[in-house]
């Protein structure tokens, strides 16, 4: 549990760093060029680490199921949904909904145990926990917006690419 917590915190911190970097790239080129570059870099790094830690065993892929070869499409789906969603809703609301949806679908996933992941039984306590976190996200994202309208508006306008990648995740 503690190991999982620490790793998740590492992942979240790196996601936010990556988003900042990616948004810098996105400012200078298009959304798909950025996506291709980011995924290409990710592939190169995964390959390097894999070779470093596992050597030739990295290429023993006999247990691959056919759909694994299309799993990268999920990331492409993320980019399409976020780009269009942001355009229609504006960053603050779009990101709030994306974050909430991440959490909600995680709860559904744990409860149903789809794709053969170990099932984590749904309890009332879990629901309360998730609702409190969602409340926290809403307060975090929407709280104090009125106080500083001008600054918020400016942020909204200047950092669309930034916010687009903010929710992209890994």
């Amino acid at each position: 549990m503690i190991q999982g917590l620490l790793l998740a915190l590492v992942a979240g911190s790196l996601v936010s760093m990556q988003n900042v970097f990616n948004s810098k790239v996105n400012e200078h080129t298009g959304s798909w060029a950025t996506t291709a570059l980011v995924l290409g870099m990710g592939f190169a790094a995964s390959l390097t680490f894999g070779l470093l830690f596992e050597g030739g065993r990295l290429f023993s892929l006999e247990n691959m199921k056919p759909w694994y070869w299309f799993s990268g499409g999920i990331g492409v789906g993320v980019v399409i949904c976020l780009t269009l969603g942001l355009r229609l809703l504006g960053p603050t609301y779009a990101i709030s909904i994306v974050l909430i949806s991440q959490l909600g679908s995680a709860l559904v996933w744990d409860s149903l145990g789809w794709l053969g992941l170990s099932k984590v039984p749904f309890t009332f306590q879990k629901l309360v926990g998730v609702l409190v976190i969602i409340g926290g996200i809403l307060v975090f994202k929407l709280g104090g917006r009125g106080e500083n309208e001008a600054a918020t508006a400016e942020t909204d306008k200047t950092s669309e690419s930034r916010i687009q990648s903010e929710a992209r995740g890994a």
């Binding site: 190991q3 998740a8 915190l9 590492v10 992942a11 979240g12 790196l14 996601v15 936010s16 990556q18 988003n19 970097f21 990616n22 790239v25 200078h28 080129t29 298009g30 798909w32 060029a33 996506t35 291709a36 995924l39 290409g40 990710g42 592939f43 790094a45 995964s46 390097t48 894999g50 830690f53 691959m64 299309f70 799993s71 990268g72 999920i74 492409v76 993320v78 949904c81 994306v98 949806s101 991440q102 679908s105 995680a106 744990d110 789809w114 053969g116 992941l117 879990k126 998730v130 409190v132 976190i133 926290g136 996200i137 975090f140 104090g144 400016e154 950092s159 903010e166 929710a167 890994a170």
Partner: protein, 141 residues
């Protein structure tokens, strides 16, 4: 309405990404899972780029080289996330990822480290983070 659906779908896809990586890693190993998903995603994005042509390749030269390597962080991100999901479940992992992500993003913003617009962390943001941490504690104990 359409925006709402797209945002909901986008969020669900982000979670699905972590879950799919965790699933694939059970069968072929974690680095393999990371490499395969990134590679297939890269090919698809490249194909779309060929059609959309929103490239402006010259623009890339104006980017500070360090920023071009941001994508490489994904290797460590996927490895950590997959191990966390297998270790502690999807809900717990996603919650902790989001808290760390929001915290660090605000730290980066308010310090202006990478020349992004400065935003100040105000009382509502502290309350929000406090609620999120409380929610994770309720989730697990």
């Amino acid at each position: 309405m359409r925006g709402l659906l797209l945002a909901l779908l986008g969020g669900a896809f982000i979670t699905l990404q972590g879950v799919a990586n965790a699933r694939i890693s059970q069968d072929v190993g974690t680095w393999q899972a990371a490499a395969v998903t990134q590679f297939t995603g890269f090919i698809m994005a490249l194909l779309i780029l060929l059609f959309v042509r929103d490239g402006r390749r010259r623009g890339l030269r104006q980017v500070k080289p360090l920023y071009l390597f941001g994508g490489a962080l994904a290797a460590v991100i996927i490895f950590s996330e997959v191990t966390a999901i297998r270790n502690a479940g999807v809900t717990f992992t996603i919650s902790a990822v989001l808290i760390a992500q929001l915290c660090l993003t605000f730290l980066i913003d308010s310090s202006g480290w990478v020349g992004v617009v400065k935003r100040k962390m105000k009382l509502p943001q502290f309350i929000g983070l406090g609620m999120m941490v409380a929610g994770v504690i309720i989730l697990e104990f």
